[in-house]
């Protein structure tokens, strides 16, 4: 990267020397606690999920976070989305962050599709005006106009996921976090999602994707970061990252 080119870039996510430690419980009840204590066994142990992570992601970049299960990818996304706080270091974001982390988490089975669109969009931080402006677009994208006034509990799982995904992807955002949810729906719907992602990239939105689907990662992302046991082991062009993971 030349310095002249770098001047155009603006970081939108800064992960500065971030540590995250989880406490693992070994005793699950008062009895367990006393037994372990008497036998001198440890009650808890520490698990370091992230050990001093340094990542800067610039505006308009689409970055894949790769790594084996348990390497700390999802923890990183949760820190960026604000669900968790780092134990050390700092995470900074610029602009509106939206997570396609768990689509459908906010859906209420007893409400109709229409009510759920409003509820879920509000959960993702949209205001009433924004939702009303985008409502038709959301429903059209999901392709279930016909069933929108039915209760969500009667939906098939595919319909459910399509509607949830459609809400999440229409949130006004500057940074989109995607965690392993692109296996949603049938082939035509997946194609629609891919186009939507491409559109977001063209609009210079920042995309952070966690996935094991190398095919899709290669298609969407330009940069890859490989995390192993809580540290960054590779940061560079996506091809190199994929090669690193596949070995």
């Amino acid at each position: 990267m030349t310095s002249q080119f770098a001047a155009d870039l603006q970081p939108s996510i800064i992960v500065d020397d971030v540590y995250k430690t989880f406490t693992l419980n070994h005793a699950f009840s008062l009895k367990d606690t006393i037994v372990s204590w008497v036998r001198g066994r440890k009650l808890t142990s520490q698990f370091e999920a992230l050990k001093g992570l340094d990542i800067v992601i610039n505006e308009g970049e689409s970055v894949a976070i790769l790594g084996l299960n348990g390497s700390g990818k999802s923890t990183l996304l949760k820190l960026v989305s604000g669900v968790m706080q780092p134990d050390g270091g700092s995470v900074l974001t610029r602009g509106r962050v939206a997570g396609l982390i768990e689509v459908g988490a906010g859906f209420h089975p007893e409400l109709s599709g229409r009510e759920n669109v409003f509820l879920n969009a509000a959960i993702l931080g949209m205001s009433r005006k924004e939702i009303e402006a985008r409502y038709d677009e959301i429903v059209a994208f999901s392709g279930i106009e016909q069933f929108i006034d039915q209760e969500v509990k009667h939906y098939s799982s595919g319909m459910f996921m399509r509607l949830a995904f459609s809400v999440a992807i229409h949130v006004n955002l500057d940074i989109l976090l995607v965690d392993e949810i692109l296996s949603v729906g049938d082939a035509p719907f997946r194609e629609k999602c891919r186009l939507k992602f491409q559109e977001l990239i063209e609009r210079r939105k920042t995309l952070v994707v966690v996935s094991h689907d190398m095919e899709m990662v290669r298609e969407l992302c330009t940069r890859g970061i490989v995390i192993n046991k809580g540290t960054v082991v590779y940061d560079g062009p996506v091809e190199g990252a994929v090669a690193q993971v596949e070995n």
Binding site: G82, T93, G106, L111, D235
Partner: protein, 275 residues
């Protein structure tokens, strides 16, 4: 990545947000639209797929009221000490129900929304606040019923502006108290599910630790008779629920009992003059 550090320095930190930084209860106002939807969801889905639906909001307090009225009022003769005991009792039960429901729902609200809390960032206090507001919505028909009975008993003739204010003050005290305790126990509930059981226990006590079934004067008399330290009464009176219940008694029971109360006061003053 040599130029990353460089960028780091150049961009002012003030442009950045720290994700997940909580703004306390102020966040509730910022997320008011979501709060409204959560309340609406809580209210409308409460009695989905039940035949009697909203009637259940009346049946439970009605059954409670009947049991207490028959056992305490008729069998144990509390009715003789407290004129219009039925109104007295119901005014108190309505307050306790508001507290119980708000407190219980707020406590389970965080764990109940676990999928959301774990996956999406949003102010978690919203769940507790919406639980208390939903409890308030369910409290309204009960107050309506109470008001109707009071109107039949001539409430309107003795009512003052203070009675109306007392209703609001009582409801607000109870809701703030339920929210505060609900936030505390809701947080504890995440780590220790014992919290829910502790709350059940506290709610059982709440009915008896406030002048719902009896009058606070009985507590005062009992403490003097037993020779217990008088600060016990102070503690009893400091209970916010006691205050709220008394405000409701003042608002609903006092106006309909104005005349009987006057004669009772006379009776009490002669009795205390004697001792």
């Amino acid at each position: 990545m040599p130029d990353q550090r460089d960028l780091f320095q150049r961009v002012p930190r003030s442009e950045f947000d720290v994700p997940g930084k909580a703004g306390g209860l102020l966040d509730v106002f910022r997320w008011h639209y979501l709060l409204r939807l959560l309340v609406r969801t809580g209210v409308t889905t409460r009695y989905r797929n039940s035949v009697l639906g909203w009637t259940w909001s009346y049946v439970r307090p009605a059954a409670q009221f009947l049991v207490f009225w028959i056992v305490l009022g008729l069998f144990l003769n509390l009715e003789r000490g407290i004129p219009n005991y039925a109104v007295y009792l119901f005014a108190g039960i309505v307050v306790i129900n508001l507290f119980s429901e708000g407190f219980k729902n707020a406590t389970s609200s965080i764990v109940g929304n676990a999928p959301l809390v774990r996956k999406v960032y949003l102010p978690r206090q919203l769940f507790a606040v919406s639980a208390v507001i939903v409890a308030f919505v369910h409290f309204l028909p009960q107050v309506g019923l109470l008001l109707l009975v009071c109107l039949l008993l001539g409430w309107i003739t003795n009512v003052t502006i203070f009675s109306i204010l007392a209703i609001f003050a009582g409801a607000i005290i109870v809701m703030v108290f339920a929210l505060g305790l609900g936030l505390l126990f809701g947080a504890m509930n995440v780590r220790y599910r014992d919290a829910e059981n502790i709350v059940e226990l506290l709610l059982l006590l709440a009915t008896w630790a406030s002048p719902v079934l009896y009058s606070w004067i009985m507590v005062k008399d009992a403490i003097t008779e037993l020779g217990w330290p008088s600060w016990l009464l102070e503690v009893y009176m400091l209970n916010p629920i006691t205050q709220a219940v008394e405000l409701f008694h003042f608002a609903f029971w006092s106006p309909v009992t104005e005349t009987t109360l006057r004669s009772r006061r006379l009776w009490r003053s002669t009795r205390s003059g004697r001792s």
